[in-house]
Each structure stands twice: as C-alpha cells, then as structure tokens.
C-alpha cells in the first residue's frame, strides 16, 4: 500500500532523511519511532506530497506522490504535528471546507461530517470556534479532518500528543479500529504507544532506519540473556550466593532490599529456563519465595540502545552509520 524506496531529503547541507526504504502492507499499522529531529515528520511530509524528495520515491496507494500527486493525495489523509485548523471557523464550518477541498460528494457531506464527529467525539464542540478549543479537541478535529474523505492511507504525526490519558486510550482504540480498512502510519516518541497500537515498528535515528520489526521481535532480538526478577524472604548476601550456584545462572544482582525481603535480578543464558531450579533452591533453604517474574527488556531500552550510535551499529550491522 505504501512503498518508500531510497528516500532522501536534504535541506541545503543538512540531510534530514537519508536513504530510507520500507513498505507498509494494506491494513497494517506501522509505528514510526525516533527521537525528536530524527526525520519522522520529513518522511511523512514527503509521503503526503507536502514536499518532494531530493532522491528516491514514495508510492502511496499505487500512485507516485511526486508524479501523480493529486491521485495520491485523494487517497491519503494527513494529520500534521500541529492540527491545521482555522481559528475563526467553527468545527462544522471547518470540516465542511475540508470536505469541499477533498472532493467529498456534496449529498454525502453532512452525513459524513456528522459521522466523523461522532467517531472522534467532537460533536459537542461542533459549533465552537476552532481557535477556542483545548489541545485535545484540536487534535481530534485534526483527526476527523484526516479521515473525512475516507482515505486508504492515513498518515498521523503524533496523533496523541497533548491528549489526556483517557483521550489517549480512546484515540488509540479509534486508530486500532481503523486498521484493516485503512493503512496507517503513525509517528510518536511515546514508546508504549507503538507497542500497544502498531503491528510493526520502524525506528529511525538521524535520518536513517535503524530497525524495522514487530514490537515483540524487537524486544527479544536485542535481549542477550533472559532476566528473572525474584523476591525472596531472606538475607541478601546469603541468598545471592545460593542462587549463584544454580546451574545456568550467569549473574545475580540485588535489585532492592527492605527489612528481610530482598529482590534479585537473575540473568541466565538465553533459551535456558532456570525457574524450576531457582524455586527449588529457595524453598529447599526454607526461605519464602514471594515473587518470581521474567523481566523483559522494555521498548524504552530497545529504543535507547538503538538510537545511541554504537548500539545502532550492532543492531543493524548491514546499515552504515554515519558519525556527524
């Protein structure tokens, strides 16, 4: 549905996006992740036809965004970082204008606008001026604007920025509900968001792609060893020594300790399940096993690892990483 091939965008001497390629299948939600200034917005702007690429090309819904911009734009909905609202228009007037410039059939217009306001929960502000809306409402009016002409492709630049937690959950649900019928790219720097909404993630840093994978694969791929968290009703040094002796355990660290309860982080070689042995040792010594759970590397860790340069080279050896 979306095909990006060797996309490069330079602003004068600065290369904002450097040889980026990826594809998005129909009905998929792709998360675009990266620190501020990584080139997310630039890539999205090229995809929406806002600006042409310096090199490479982007094909959206079967049309090259540069050669057939009108066809591509007709099939794309875009929510920029700041929702493009006209402060002097009411929400309804604004959506009516958007419907007109996006060639929504006239007889369908009122119904479609009502529908969209319903879905994005902005019906109660329909007759308020856009300039007087709170950030959360602006964001949702922007979302309604992007979806108004029922595009195949939705490109959302930080759709949940500025929303409160309840609205974030609602918006996520809304976006998830759209997948299937729509192909969605959304950018964010909020990590739980991608792991909860997206099927695949593209991590971009300094204009280059450093990883493309599913959230699960990304977290496991970068995990060199399995880590277990144990909470034991025993004295720290004593128990640590005992745990260390369990076969397969590579490292034991004390994570926290209060009163007589100690928390341990136990590393073991990948693929080796040491849970039974650990439990047996603890129970055998007569200590209380209060908690045992696997610690997964969070996406935060993955992200930090990938976006610091050395780790990036290690995670994606095929990619040449430029040091500027």
């Amino acid at each position: 549905m979306i095909e990006v091939q060797h996309l490069t965008k330079r602003y004068g001497p600065v290369t904002a996006v450097d040889d980026v390629s990826f594809t998005v299948e129909r009905g998929e939600i792709l998360g675009f992740l990266g620190p501020n200034g990584a080139g997310k917005t630039t890539t999205m702007r090229v995809l929406t036809g806002y600006m042409p690429p310096s090199e490479g090309k982007a094909i959206v819904a079967g049309y090259d965004v540069f050669d057939q911009p009108l066809e591509a734009k007709r099939r794309t909905g875009y929510l920029p970082e700041t929702p493009p609202l006209y402060p002097d228009m009411t929400v309804r007037e604004y959506l009516t204008f958007v419907a007109r410039i996006k060639s929504v059939p006239r007889n369908d217009c009122t119904k479609r606008i009502g529908d969209m306001m319903e879905r994005t929960r902005i019906t109660d502000v329909a007759d308020r001026h856009c300039g007087k809306l709170s950030k959360g409402y602006r964001q949702r009016v922007g979302l309604a604007q992007a979806m108004l002409h029922n595009p195949d492709v939705l490109i959302l630049d930080e759709p949940t920025a500025g929303l409160d937690p309840k609205q974030i959950i609602e918006t996520r649900e809304l976006i998830k509900g759209l997948a299937g019928d729509h192909t969605i790219i959304l950018s964010t720097h909020i990590l739980p968001e991608v792991s909860q909404t997206c099927q695949r993630i593209v991590i971009i840093n300094k204009g280059k792609i450093v990883a493309v994978d599913t959230p699960d694969n990304l977290t496991s791929r970068l995990r060199g060893s399995e880590t277990m968290y144990l909470q034991v009703d025993a004295q720290g040094a004593d128990a640590a020594e005992a745990l260390q002796r369990v076969p397969g355990v590579t490292r034991v660290g004390i994570a926290d300790a209060r009163d007589s309860v100690t928390g341990f982080e136990v590393d073991s070689a990948t693929g080796r399940d040491v849970r039974r042995e650990l439990a047996a040792v603890i129970v055998g010594r007569g200590w209380g096993l209060l908690e045992m759970r696997p610690m997964r590397m969070s996406l935060e860790d993955v992200f930090l690892q990938l976006t610091t340069q050395d780790a990036a080279a290690q995670a994606a050896p095929a990619e040449e990483v430029t040091h500027e």
Binding site: T42, R45, G49, L70, Y78, T82, D88, I101, K102
Partner: protein, 254 residues
C-alpha cells in the same frame, strides 16, 4: 472550479470573521466619503463661478467623478496591503498551509482561490461607493460610460495590487513583514514614473508603462483601451505566476 470557489469562499469568510474586512471597508467608506464631500464643495464652487459667466462649462464627470477615482488610487495603496498581507503568511505561520498542500488541490487552484477571495472583499469595498454614484445620478446627469469604465479600471488596478501583494505574502510567514513590504512596493509602483519628465524619451515611456496607476487614467476618461486591459491582465497573471513559483520553491526548499 469547485475547488477554486471553495478556497475563495473560505478566504472571503475569514476576512469577515476577523475585524479586517470591517476595518478596511469602514476606512475606505470614510475616506471615499470625505473625498466625495470635499470635491463636491469644490465642484459647487466651480459651477457657481461658471454660472456667473466666468467662462468654461462645468462637467460633473471631468470635475467631480474623475478626480474622485484618481484619489481612490491613494486609498488603495494604503488599504490593499491589509487585505493581502495575511493570505499566505497566516497559513504558513499557523500550519494550515499543510492542509492545503496535502489536499488534492493544484497550486493554481489555491492561488486563484485566494486571489478571488481578496478580489471579493475588494469588490465589496468598492460596492460602498455605489451609494455616492447613485446620489450623483439622482441629482445630476453625469455620463454613465466613464463611471462604468472607471469602476472596471479600479477593479483591474486593484487586481494588480492584490496579485503583487499575494506574491509578497507567499514569501514570508510574518504578516507584518508582508504588510510593510507590500506597502513599500505599492508606493514605489505609484511614484515610479515621477522622474519621467526629467529623463530621455525611452526611459520615460518605460517608466510610464511600469506605473500601475498611470494606466488607470484612461479608464476615468471613459476610454476602454485594449493596451491598458492587456497591461493589467499581464500584471495580474505575472503576480499570480510569481506566487506559484514562490510556493513551489518553498516546497522544494522545505
């Protein structure tokens, strides 16, 4: 066409939902009314002198309507930058330009729409002056041709200023900068032929040709000359063309 009208309609509406339209129309009405009153006093004096047999006939077209039109030019120099200064600048500043440029619209449609929107407000402005003309026609009997051509001339001259203003507005996201530069350029275009009588014949004709206001003169005399029509339409097209280039360049530069 529908797209162009959608943009034009939006522009016009945004003028009227902010104080701009009311201020511009209000001041235009005030200044035009003031000129009208002063020139009417002068005209009355002239016609009384004429009535005493001081020689020469009085002509309402020549001595009242024509000077009124010519003076309106000066009002336009001041007021039209206020109409055009925000057209592109505001969209760029607030980011709504992203909506327009990612919608299935061509640059031509956006620019023409914006131009027509500004022309709409300008036409509304001129509409106010019809009242004065109605008064003149009901109490006197001026010729109607120079009045009609005068209005055509005013519209076209204003169109030139608006298209130049649109271009300047497309260069910056700062409304104030846009307004001041537009005003400066308008003034220059107005006075450009002042040195005409001191220079050689070639330079003189070039300078006269460049002066947007100079071409208006014939319209006030009731003459609809193709030369001037071609000139005005060229300037308007050129201004819109430059705007399109500026929008496109901006897109490449990012």
């Amino acid at each position: 066409m529908n797209n162009i009208l959608a943009i034009a309609h939006k522009e016009l509406k945004s003028y009227f939902s902010t104080p701009i339209a009311y201020i511009v129309i209000g001041f235009f009405a005030l200044l035009w009314g003031y000129f009208f009153w002063v020139m009417l006093l002068y005209f009355n004096q002239q016609s009384q002198l004429g009535g005493l047999g001081g020689g020469g006939s009085v002509d309402m077209n020549q001595q009242l309507i024509r000077p009124l039109f010519l003076n309106a030019t000066v009002i336009l120099l001041f007021l039209l930058p206020l109409i055009t200064m925000r057209t592109y600048s505001e969209e760029k500043r607030s980011g709504t330009i992203e909506l327009l440029l990612t919608s299935p619209l061509t640059d031509f449609q956006i620019i023409t729409g914006k131009f027509l929107g500004a022309m709409g407000l300008y036409a509304a402005m001129l509409g106010v002056t019809v009242i004065h003309m109605v008064l003149l026609f009901s109490y006197g009997n001026p010729e109607w041709r120079p009045v009609v051509t005068g209005y055509i001339g005013l519209l076209l001259m204003g169109g030139c200023f608006i298209s130049v203003g649109l271009f300047i507005s497309s260069l910056t996201k700062n409304q104030i900068v846009s307004g001041i530069v537009t005003f400066g350029v308008f003034l220059l275009l107005w006075v450009i032929n002042w040195p005409a009588s001191f220079v050689g014949p070639t330079t003189q004709s070039v300078l006269n040709y460049l002066s947007i206001t100079d071409h208006f003169d014939d319209f006030t005399k009731g003459i609809l000359d193709t030369k001037h029509l071609v000139y005005y339409f060229s300037v308007i097209s050129f201004g819109l063309f430059l705007t399109a280039r500026a929008v496109d360049t901006e897109r490449w530069r990012g």
